[in-house]
């Protein structure tokens, strides 16, 4: 590893961390104002322009609150749970490609922190870690509500991970690779001459199952039973306050952004440009007389912006769904997971496998 590589890697780390960390307050802001707009309200608009500084005010409040620990809590696990919650979704970002590559001084810098051949598996492994903080927090708090929240959360996440995994396997069969960058390259082509060859068009049923499963995985409405405000106070983080609660809250949104990035990479062509943008880039390059190297850099910038745009749309969808649908009852949740999504994912997988075998791989 040369010095150039190390500097490039550090810059990429800083970039990803900065974008995600700054996206969270924006998403929280939109969650509040967007929900208000969907309900015909105004929402928080006093702190800063359009209320954009409201999350900052919240963070300041969380930091200065008393750091309370319940007397009977299991101290070590109680403290460790929010830390895992905050770190796990960040680690999953490492394998997600957010652009093709930059060309700097004759060297190619791939816009991905770690280009792993088993990228999708590492993302899933880190995403799977998210069940631990819920269980640890619920157990360590020594509170009935927390315990219930943790039980619900862990059973829900484990059941939906199966449907998630199976829909993913059908996509892996189509792409024929575990490498996320190669998946994006596969999708960066046209079908029938006009349609982008995105996963959603190739396998809409897998997309639907994956979408429902990530809603359950990230504990969002209509699957927010681990938190269940109506009956469980706040679920697994009932006993948490101040900064530790903020970490849980924060982790929830980072996990949402992470799940959206994965969904975009698998089903919406990841950083692949929208059809037609290539002509725009060629036009810019032609007008400014750019070298091929700089043309590639501009293309990469477009790709990063496009990726952020797609993830933003997905976050909008998250908020939109949250403020539209009522919550599931727990038995309905389990029915949907085990009796509908699981068989559907299996049949879909079989169908995809047969089609691929019939087409000769």
């Amino acid at each position: 590893m040369t010095l150039f590589d190390i500097i490039a890697l550090l810059l990429k780390l800083v970039f990803v961390l900065a974008v995600v960390l700054n996206a969270v307050p924006v998403v929280i802001w939109f969650e509040r104002r967007g929900s208000a707009w969907m309900q015909g309200r105004v929402g928080p608009n006093r702190v800063g322009p359009f209320g954009l500084l409201q999350p900052v005010a919240d963070v300041i409040k969380f930091i200065f609150k008393e750091d309370f620990v319940p007397k009977e809590a299991s101290k070590f696990y109680y403290h460790v749970a929010p830390m895992i919650a905050a770190v796990a979704p960040f680690a999953a970002f490492a394998a997600i490609p957010f652009g093709s590559f930059l060309a700097i001084g004759g060297q190619q810098v791939p816009l991905q922190i770690a280009s792993l051949d088993i990228g999708i598996l590492s993302v899933l492994a880190f995403a799977g870690l998210e069940v631990y903080p819920i269980m640890l927090a619920g157990w360590a708090s020594n509170n009935k509500y927390s315990m219930f929240g943790a039980l619900r959360g862990s059973s829900q996440m484990v059941s939906y991970e199966i449907a998630l995994g199976l829909s993913l396997v059908s996509m892996l069969l189509i792409y024929g690779t575990l490498n996320l960058t190669e998946m994006v390259v596969y999708q960066d082509q046209l079908m029938f001459g006009f349609m982008p060859r995105w996963g959603i068009f190739l396998n809409p049923i897998a997309f639907l199952i994956f979408l429902i499963a990530i809603f359950a995985e990230t504990n969002r409405l209509p699957f927010d039973l681990p938190e269940g405000d109506a009956e469980l106070v706040a679920g697994y983080h009932t006993e948490y306050g101040a900064t530790k609660f903020a970490m849980f809250f924060f982790a929830e949104y980072v996990a949402m952004i992470m799940a959206s990035s994965l969904l975009i990479t698998l089903f919406f062509g990841g950083y692949a440009l929208f059809p037609g943008l290539e002509t725009v880039i060629a036009g810019i390059a032609g007008a400014l007389q750019l070298s091929p190297e700089w043309t590639q850099n501009i293309r990469a910038a477009f790709q990063v912006a496009g990726f952020i745009f797609k993830v933003g749309c997905m976050m909008f969808f998250y908020v939109w769904v949250r403020w539209t649908f009522p919550r599931f009852r727990f038995d309905q949740l389990m029915n949907l997971g085990w009796k509908i999504l699981f068989p559907l994912a299996l049949v879909n997988l079989l169908f995809v496998a047969l089609v691929i075998a019939w087409m000769g791989g």
């Binding site: 707009w37 015909g40 309200r41 939109w320 649908f325």
Partner: protein, 165 residues
């Protein structure tokens, strides 16, 4: 008696997805309306105030004539009719040198206290008053910092109120 109404569920009803799409349409419509057409139900309260009807019964006042003399003649009708017993009047004779009105305003209230915390804003005092002296304005912002401030004395009641406020 139980009435069982069975509705036939079609295939599309059973998979729920069209119904979910309709639900999403409803919220996005409201989203558009509030964001781009400003049709929000809530208002920005301190800056923007809701308009109440002319008959709204809010903070009390006593009407005055051109010389800033109260119209009240301490007849005790309002104190008598008040169901919450929140009005306390102490009457006295208006000194002859201060009285250009002759017999019309011979009597005046030395004290006129309304305990706003007891008041139920029924408006009976307003109805009973033969001189249209005590009235309820349309002001509904009556929060005070101390209990003492909520007992309105004559000075407070004689404040200038335009129309019904």
């Amino acid at each position: 008696m139980t009435i069982i109404v069975s509705r036939k569920e079609t295939f599309w009803d059973k998979i729920y997805l069209p119904a979910l799409a309709i639900g999403l349409k409803v919220t996005i419509k409201q989203f558009y309306r509030t964001l781009f057409r400003g049709e929000s139900t809530t208002i920005q309260y301190p800056e923007q105030k809701r308009i109440y009807s002319q008959r709204f019964r809010g903070e009390h006042f006593i009407s005055v004539d051109a010389n800033k003399t109260e119209n009240c003649t301490s007849c005790y009708l309002c104190q008598t009719v008040c169901p919450a017993e929140c009005i306390t009047i102490i009457a006295e004779e208006r000194p002859a040198e201060e009285n250009p009105y002759g017999v019309r305003k011979e009597k005046r209230p030395a004290r006129f206290d309304i305990d706003a915390l007891r008041c139920c804003f029924c408006g009976f005092c307003e109805e009973a008053c033969p001189k249209d002296a005590i009235k309820l304005s349309r002001n509904y912002e009556m929060a005070k910092l101390t209990r003492e401030d909520t007992i309105y004395d004559l000075d407070h009641l004689k404040r200038e109120v335009k129309g019904r406020g």
